[in-house]
Each structure stands twice: as structure tokens, then as C-alpha cells.
């Protein structure tokens, strides 16, 4: 057992399928940032568990979500991103829907579908299946059910524990257009990655030289509904010089007396990292029982290039980074994750190394840190209960 779940939950296709059906197809799923559908007619299509759902912005600036599937023979209607003004046409046989999802045109209707001719097309029960879409803290979320419980009933409880950041006012940090800040297929089950994210115990050890600019001993954390929340202040030495040392211009909404990192995990698979100088989404997308795609998008202050240059120069000159934030746990080649001085590489390494052991007959979890790892077993309980509840609802 891994605390609450059997080891198979991390290795078997059966569990993977169970989770796809009862977790990722029954929850509000992260679909991007609000600016991804900034303009009227913009759309994006995302995979959310078993469902492919597209979001389109209508001329009334309201988002609509539909299952991305023609009602004729099921063909996917829209590709990942694009723009459509008034109608959506299936590439296969040109069936066409309006932005309310109503069927408005079928080629050769009279010859081929005479039975559909005595009614208006949108009354033929062939309109697109509706889904739900809403916004939470600058992020888009979709739910496959058109009558989904409203998004604030899902996230409302954790909202007070999030950082003061206003993501809509920040701008995305991208080296190249359309390419996220970080994207990597990790050879580990998605839950291993979540458990690593919410594990307080490892911070001072795995990341002893990479995340030591935060004061782990003063961390506060807990649960709000199915969601995990976490806050820790800056380490005193970093705090003392943060105006110079910060790698990017400081987030202007950060109160000076509560300068730190807010690192919540929103159930089931989206984390946010809200720090003194950046705001990141951390999306863990299960691809296989032992494979997970992690996509990080990063936003920073909306100020001029010049401000960034000035801050970078000051940061480089700060003494803080001589002892903090970039020293690998081991000495060695920079390509070795444990010597890289990059905390993300350290986490990926630890997750993959753990996944490797799961198939060993000798594998077991030996003990649990009662405070620092409490969140790990709690998360597993949430997963288990969520599956059981939705299995029951189905039955």
C-alpha cells in the first residue's frame, strides 16, 4: 500500500482508466488562461479526462463550452486553437452549428435526411452537447456536465488561502510564442507528482540548496475541501534584500509583511505557485499509468523590458544568490539533475526514481512523517473517496 491507495493505483491501466472516468471526467478541469480566448470568436479545444471540450467566446463576450464532437458521426470539430466568427462547420460532411451549439445546416438535407425536414433543424435533437466553462483566478476551467455545480462551490473554500496576485494583470513569460515556460513528459504516475508537490518534508532535504530562499520552518499548510493550501515566508536573508535580489520585478500586490510563496494544489491536477515575483500554473496531465505531462505557464509583472533589465542587473549583483537558490545537492556535472541546482530537475528525478521502485516485490512505504507528509495520505484519501462517490453516483 501507498498509505491509502494500493500500489496498483500508480502502475495499472485499470486504475488509470478508473481515474479518467471518475476523477478527470467529473471535476472542473484546467483549460488554460483567460487570455487564451481573449477576443470574440476565439476558441480553444482541450482534453479533459475522457472528453474533448472546446471553449468559444461569443459576441456577447460570454464563453460557451461544447463537447468537440459532430452529432452526425462524432468527428472532432475544432482543432486546438483558432478563430471562428459565427458558425462551426464539421470538416467531414459540412454539418454546421451556430455558437449556441444549434445545428443550422446539413448539406443535401432534402434528399438524404427527409425525416429531418418537417422540423426546424435545431429541434431535431442533434445540437452539440453542451459542457460548462467558467473562470477562477484568471484560469479557464471546463466541466463535461452542462449542469455542473458552479465553479465557486468547488473552489470557493480554498480561495481565501490563495495569494494576493491578480493573474489577469500579469503577462505571460514566454521565450518563444505559443511555447509554455516549461513542458516535460515525466516517467511517473500523476499522483507521485502531486504527492511530491504537496510534500513539505522534502523541501529542506531534496532542495536544500535550491529552495532555501524560503523559510520552510515557518510554512503553514492545510486542506480546504478537496484542495491543499500552502504558504511559507521568504528566508530572512532573502527578505532583507528582496528588492534587489528578486530575479523579476516584485509582484505589486504582495504585502511586505506577508512576502512569500503560496503554493496550493487544486484538486485533482492543477497546482499554482504564487511567489514574490511570479505566478505559475502547474498542470499535471496523466498520459499513462507511469507517464505524466507537466506543463508550467508563468506570469510576471506587466512592466517594461527596461524594468526587467534593471531588476536582473540588481539581482545578479545581490549577495543572496551566493548562498541560496542554485546550488545542487551533489557536486558534479550540471547535466546531473542532482547537481544541476534546478529544483524542478530535482523533483523530476525524485519522482522518476520512486516510480521505478513501485514494481519491485520488495516495495513498501516504510513510515510516514506525521506532519510533513500528512498531506500525502490525505490526498490519497481524497482520490479514493472521489472515485467511490462518483462510482456510486453512476450505479
Amino acid at each position: 500500500m501507498m498509505h491509502e491507495l494500493p500500489v496498483e493505483a500508480y502502475t495499472s491501466q485499470e486504475w488509470f482508466d478508473l481515474e479518467q472516468q471518475y476523477i478527470f471526467s467529473t471535476t472542473w478541469q484546467f483549460a488554460g488562461l483567460v487570455e487564451d480566448v481573449a477576443n470574440v470568436g476565439d476558441y480553444i479545444a482541450v482534453q479533459a479526462g475522457l472528453n474533448n471540450i472546446f471553449i468559444v467566446k461569443g459576441r456577447d463576450h460570454r464563453l460557451r463550452a461544447f463537447h468537440n464532437m459532430c452529432r452526425h458521426r462524432g468527428t472532432q470539430l475544432l482543432r486546438a486553437v483558432g478563430k471562428s466568427q459565427k458558425a462551426i462547420t464539421c470538416p467531414y460532411h459540412d454539418w454546421t452549428y451556430d455558437l449556441e451549439g444549434k445545428l443550422i445546416s446539413i448539406p443535401k438535407k432534402e434528399q438524404e435526411f427527409p425525416e429531418l425536414c418537417n422540423k426546424e433543424l435545431h429541434k431535431c435533437d442533434l445540437n452539440l452537447h453542451q459542457a460548462s466553462v467558467d473562470i477562477f483566478k484568471g484560469m479557464l476551467f471546463v466541466h463535461p456536465d452542462k449542469n455542473a455545480p458552479n465553479i465557486m462551490s468547488f473552489f470557493g473554500e480554498v480561495e481565501p488561502y490563495l495569494g494576493p496576485h491578480i493573474p489577469e494583470e500579469l503577462i505571460e513569460y514566454q521565450e518563444k510564442k505559443e511555447v509554455p515556460f516549461y513542458s516535460k513528459e515525466i516517467n511517473a504516475n500523476w499522483k507521485i507528482i502531486v504527492e511530491n508537490y504537496i510534500d513539505h518534508y522534502h523541501l529542506a532535504h531534496l532542495h536544500e540548496g535550491t529552495l532555501n530562499m524560503y523559510d520552510h520552518s515557518k510554512a503553514e499548510f492545510g486542506w480546504a475541501g478537496p484542495h491543499y493550501w500552502f504558504y511559507e515566508p521568504l528566508a530572512p536573508a532573502y527578505l532583507a534584500d528582496v528588492k534587489n535580489a528578486s530575479p523579476y520585478p516584485l509582484i505589486d500586490k504582495m504585502p511586505e509583511d506577508k512576502m512569500g510563496a503560496y503554493v496550493p494544489w487544486l484538486f485533482p491536477n492543477i497546482g499554482i505557485t504564487e511567489s514574490e515575483s511570479a505566478w505559475n500554473t502547474f498542470h499535471a496531465i496523466p498520459l499513462a499509468p507511469d507517464k505524466t505531462l507537466v506543463v508550467i505557464r508563468s506570469k510576471t509583472m506587466n512592466v517594461s523590458e527596461w524594468e526587467y533589465t534593471k531588476q536582473y542587473t540588481k539581482s545578479m549583483a545581490s549577495k543572496v544568490w551566493q548562498t541560496m537558490g542554485n546550488k545542487g545537492k551533489y557536486e558534479g556535472d550540471a547535466n546531473d539533475p542532482m547537481a544541476s541546482g534546478d529544483f524542478m530537475a530535482e523533483d523530476v528525478y525524485a519522482c522518476e526514481q520512486q516510480q521505478k521502485s513501485l514494481r519491485s516485490p520488495m516495495f513498501s512505504v516504510g513510515a510516514q512523517a506525521q506532519k510533513g507528509e500528512f498531506a500525502v495520505s490525505k490526498f490519497q484519501r481524497v482520490v479514493k473517496e472521489w472515485i467511490e462517490k462518483h462510482k456510486d453516483d453512476d450505479a
Binding site: 463576450h61 460570454r62 467558467d134 473562470i135
Partner: protein
Amino acid sequence: MMPKFHQLKVLEVQKETENATSIAFDVPYNLYETFNYKPGQYLTLKFIINGEDVRRSYSLCSSPALEEPLRIGVKRVKNGLVSNYINDHLKIGDMVEVMTPEGRFFADVKKENYKSYYLFAAGSGITPILSILKTVLLTEERSYVYMMYGNKNQDTIMFTKELEQLKSEYPDRFIFVQTLSRPKSNWSDLWSTSKKQFRKGRIDTESVEWFINEFPPYAQNTEYYICGPGTMIENTKSALKNIDVPSERIYVESFGTNTSEDSVESIDNATLLAQLNGELIKVSIPKDKTILRTLIDAGKKPPYSCEGGVCSTCICKLKKGKIHMKNNLALSENEVKEGYILSCQSIPLTTHIEIEY
């Protein structure tokens, strides 16, 4: 529950503008339940003026979510019998015949809702909108309200103080834009800082589109409430439909509708056969009388309340003949197709009419 009249005492009479008054009523404890209402609904008042029994409906501007007395807003209508009577003569302590709250125009406000409400009000159309506004802000802690309020000039704005207070109390959830069609300019404008308090113009296709572009919804479950005179409603509705707002999300209450001249001539002395409360009534309809008035004059008791074509209490089904409805703000196209009519608005177009309540 059948609508019913009760005697209520006037608790407060407050001048809102030069031409509008709000009236608060004292509801005795045993009638609290009976006078429970939803934000957006109205009261029907009955007076006997110059020996005539007259009824008018006025929207409630108070909020059921607040511990406040029932309050209606009444703006003078040019030559209006009742509105001027209320503005000129009604005083604290008067007893008034008030019918239990009614109306299909209301917001279904629930604590757990997460919505964006777009409210459009013109002139005295603010009354039910104010009730919805207060109730939503107070009850739905996460919902947003985007409101546009149109007036002729600074002097005709009702409830200014209350609206300003709400604006400062809920800066994160309440967006408020006022527009004036004929603003008064003041000498002081010349040296006041150019911070614009009002937009110039009417609530029309252009301004509604501007408003939604400027203030797109944050919560994606949106609803649109419109209240004002007929043309304002038509303009706002068509602006919303132009940008693909689905009609099931639009709610409308029309104020002051009897402005257009109705030129349809009725048939004199048509025969009316009416099935009412298990009785078959046969009478003839005198010239210019409605079906409802004919039955009342014959001593019968047909159901009715607003007598203005708004509330649909007087609904009945036309079995034979043709009628004309002078005003219909209650029945949908489909209901009319199925033969439903508002008897308070119906005059005969054929010599033989048969209806059933």
C-alpha cells in the same frame, strides 16, 4: 396562492425626485408570509378615485433580503389618475388596499449562485432593478452586477443616494454606469476636474454594445434584466440579440406602455359566452368594454389583478370568435397561438365570442 387584497398602513412617504415618490407600507406580523416577495415583483394598489374603482401596479424597490419595509416607487405619469393621486395626496397613516406581490419578472437569488447580472434600467424602471441589485449583492456573495441606468437629466435620477452607497460598499462586484440623454450643464463643470460621472446618450443598441465590450462578464453564467419604457426595452433587447445573447437569459419588464395609440375598432354588442367558476354566462359586450369589464359589470367575479396586460391573472382561453388585445406583456407567442388571451385587454372583433376561464 390566489392573489388577495389586504389593508396596509402607509409607513413612510418619501420624495425621490421632483416627480417621484416612494411609499413604504407597514405589514402586520401575521401577513409577513403572505407579503413575501421575490426581487423584481410588484404590488397592485386599489383606490376609489372620483367614485371609480381603479387599480395600478407598482414595482417593489425594497429588497426581501433586507429587514426593510415593503416599498414601491411611483413616478408621475402625465395626466395619470393614480400616480398623481399618490404623489399629491397619499400620506403617512393612510390605509391602502394592497394586493399580495406578483409578477413574472424576478431574479431567483440564491446564496450559492455564482453569476454575472447585467441590469438595464431607464427612468422609473429603476424600481424593480434596484430590488434585484440589492438582493443579489447582499445574498450572492460572489456574483457580479453590471448595471446601466439611463435618465433624462440629473434631476430625474431616482434613488441616487442608495445607488452611490451600494457602489462604494461593493466596489469589486458592482459596476455602475449612468447615462443621461439631456444632461444639464452646470457652471461648476467649467472648473471641476474632468472626471466624468455620466455618459451622454440613451440606453440603445450602441451604448449596450459598448457597455458589454467594456465590461465583459467575469462569472460566465450571465443573466440580463431590462426595465423601462417600451422603446428602451426593444432597443436593449435587440442589442443583446445582435450579439447572440440567448433569449432565455433575457428578462424584461415593460413600464408605461400605453403610449402608442390603439386604433383597432371593436364590434358593438357582440355576444359573450363565458365559462366561469362552473357557470355559463351569457352577456353582450357594450362598445369599448373589455371582456373582463363586461363580466365585472354583470356582477360576476372573474380573476384579475393589474388590468394592464402585465400580470396574466385574468388569463382565459378563447373557444370561438376573434378578439384584439390592446396590450399584451404577459403571454408568449406560443400561448397566444394556443388561444390564450388576457381578458382585461380583449375587445371583440366578431359578433360571437366564447371563452373559458
